[in-house]
Amino acid sequence: MNAPPLLQTRSLSKTYVIGDVRVEALADVTVAVGEGRFVAVIGASGSGKSTLLNLLGGLDTPTAGTIEVGGALISAMDREALARHRRHVAGMIFQSFNLIPARTALENVELPLIFAGVERAERRRRATELLDRVGLAARAAHRPSELSGGEQQRVAVARALANGPRILLADEPTGNLDSRTSREIVGLLAGLNRDRGLTVVMVTHEEGLAREHADEVVRLRDGRVVAAGGGE
């Protein structure tokens, strides 16, 4: 018996109106991601990869279609429910790391725990443990500007895992990294997927990395799914 997918989109569309111009970023996207899978979304710049990830992460709302994550209809949620989704269900990492410069690595990892209302001692403990897991225990007191690109992305991964999400959404996580570091980061994500059964959806334009680690690859072109299938 097939288990229902953790993540399911149906006829998902997103249209931006900029002035008089309508830009169709996504059109009729239907994808399903099973629990514990590693899915890569690839496509050229402007193909709608990031838009899809923002919609899955609850950062944005679709113009049409539905998104279901773990049985919850994300596309029908109000702003506060979407915030809860981002806080507890979907962890996100970005190309530009998006760490808060004034806060240390530890404090950045603590951030989602603060919004989840976790008390100080407990969040310190959990953040320290997460930094340790991504191999940065020794860099906990450093600010992002004192860390390398790879280290910053590791902090971002630790932060994304803070509230124990069911799905990790990675938007071009290697875009600002050299190839060796890129491999390390994708390896880290793959390890989380493999060892902890964490569902990962990674947007990338590096097809090689995608095929190497992903269970499935979804290819987007001009906002539409042109191909979906297994990786290597």
Partner: protein, 454 residues
């Protein structure tokens, strides 16, 4: 998000932008400082005046004046009072019998006539014209006449005077204590019967050739009163410089009139006293005594009746002072709005990040709201300190200046605890109100747009 974390966020952010926080809070500080200063001045005035009235027992006092049964209106010396209560029209004369009758009225502790006469008062060669106030020994010993140096005269017949501290200074005695024991010369003016016989009436109309004579009397100064900057002896006695007991006063030849007002009363048939001071046992007896006295055909004036008006006047004074302070607060509030809006623009991406990791609109709103409140609290606390320090400084400068003129030290400002608590609360309230718009704007930030922002 926990309350403590939101507060922590606010202070972390303010610490990060120290100069701007300082400048914005400085606006609030000045506003609250001005407000505290203004209101503490208003409260100081009120406290001093109320204290003065209470210490002189003025609320338990009643002035009885010749005149009709009509209600006394305001200041008995005011033009309205004079028009409303024409001299002696009812025929009741405020003479010794009337004073005795008033004194017998239930609830009255004492009644004594207001007697004064103009005289040239001299001390060791220095002379000035003054109204000499004839006051019984019992009143001279009461808080109404605050003898600071020496003593009050013991009996109504003791030959001695009390002078005011400032008057002693005017007559060249720098240390009031040194004036005690010196001899005061009172030179009164009276009708000269000899001149009266050969009076050239035509000269009277041009003010010349008055049939008057001067006569001097010497009295030892028994006591010197303290300076009364706020009329601490109350209106009336507090403004007098020379007090004389009734016994020696009877021996002084003097004109029976002190003003044109007396001339009118005299021509109407009976001069009597211009006023009688009545001391009541309790404020509760006021109405009963007033109606009794009016039945006798006199008019009354009680300060207690005016107290509501005085309170109202102070309330309006407070309001005006607060309104001036408010201008600075409004400017400070605009400063907070400006700073917070700037802060949103600067932290646009940070807001996006916070939203991406799970912050809700409510969390963001709270962070900015608390930040604005923290500016208000810091500014408010500093404003209270500034207002307090400025008030003390002004108080010191004013007192230094007035001390040179012989005035005693007075606290012109009062700082009730509610003033500081109220100022802090108000500062917090204003800054929170100023934070509403920026907080809502921050909460509405679209995370997708914010994360793309450089």
């Amino acid at each position: 998000m926990r309350f403590g974390d939101a507060v922590g966020f606010a202070f972390t952010s303010l610490r990060k932008r120290r100069l701007r926080t300082f400048l914005t809070a400085a606006g609030v500080t000045i506003g609250i400082g001005a407000l505290v200063c203004m209101i503490s001045f208003g409260k100081g005035m009120q406290k001093n005046v109320t204290k003065a009235f209470k210490s002189a027992d003025l609320f338990n006092s009643l002035m009885v004046m010749p005149g009709g049964r009509s209600e006394a209106v305001g200041d008995p010396d005011g033009p309205r009072a004079r028009r409303a209560v024409p001299a002696g029209r009812t025929g009741a004369v405020l003479d010794d019998a009337a004073v005795a009758a008033i004194a017998r009225t239930p609830g009255v502790v004492s009644a004594y006539p207001e007697v004064n006469f103009p005289a040239l008062v001299g001390l060791e060669g220095e002379e000035e014209f003054r109204l000499v106030q004839v006051v019984p020994a019992a009143v001279a010993a009461s808080p109404a006449v605050r003898v600071g140096w020496g003593r009050a005269y013991a009996t109504d017949d003791e030959a001695g005077v009390i002078v005011s501290g400032p008057f002693a200074r005017r007559l060249g005695v720098k240390d009031p204590a040194a004036a005690v024991g010196k001899t005061l010369r009172i030179t009164s003016v009276s009708f000269d019967l000899g001149k009266l016989a050969s009076l050239d009436l035509s000269k009277l109309f041009t003010g010349g050739g008055l049939p008057v004579a001067q006569e001097s009397y010497d009295f030892p100064i028994l006591g010197v009163t303290e300076m009364t900057a706020f009329g601490e002896n109350g209106p009336g006695l507090g403004q007098n410089d020379v007090f004389l007991p009734p016994g020696p006063a009877r021996g002084i030849k003097r004109l029976p009139i002190t003003s044109v007002w007396d001339v009118f009363r005299m021509s109407e048939g009976g001069l009597g006293y211009s006023a009688v001071s009545v001391k009541l046992g309790s404020l509760r007896d006021l109405e009963a005594v007033k109606s009794k006295v009016r039945e006798m055909g006199f008019s009354t004036f009680a300060l207690a009746d005016q107290f509501d008006e005085i309170t109202k006047a102070f309330f309006f004074m407070d309001m005006i002072l607060a309104a001036v302070g408010m201008i600075a607060i409004v400017v400070a509030a605009l400063g907070i709005v400006n700073t917070m809006v700037m802060s949103i623009l600067e932290r646009f991406r940070e807001i996006g990040v916070m939203k991406a990791v799970g912050a809700g609109d409510k969390d963001i709103r709270r962070i900015f709201f608390f930040e604005s409140g923290a500016i208000g609290l810091l500014g408010g606390a500093a404003g209270c300190a500034l207002g307090w320090a400025t008030s003390l400084l002004i108080n010191r400068i004013v007192n230094l200046y007035l001390a040179r003129q012989g005035m005693p030290y007075i606290d012109y400002f009062a700082f009730p605890a509610w003033l500081f608590l109220g100022a802090m609360g108000f500062s917090l309230l204003v800054s929170l109100a100023a934070g509403i718009y920026p907080a809502r704007r921050a909460a509405r930030v679209d995370p997708v747009v914010a994360l793309r922002h450089d």
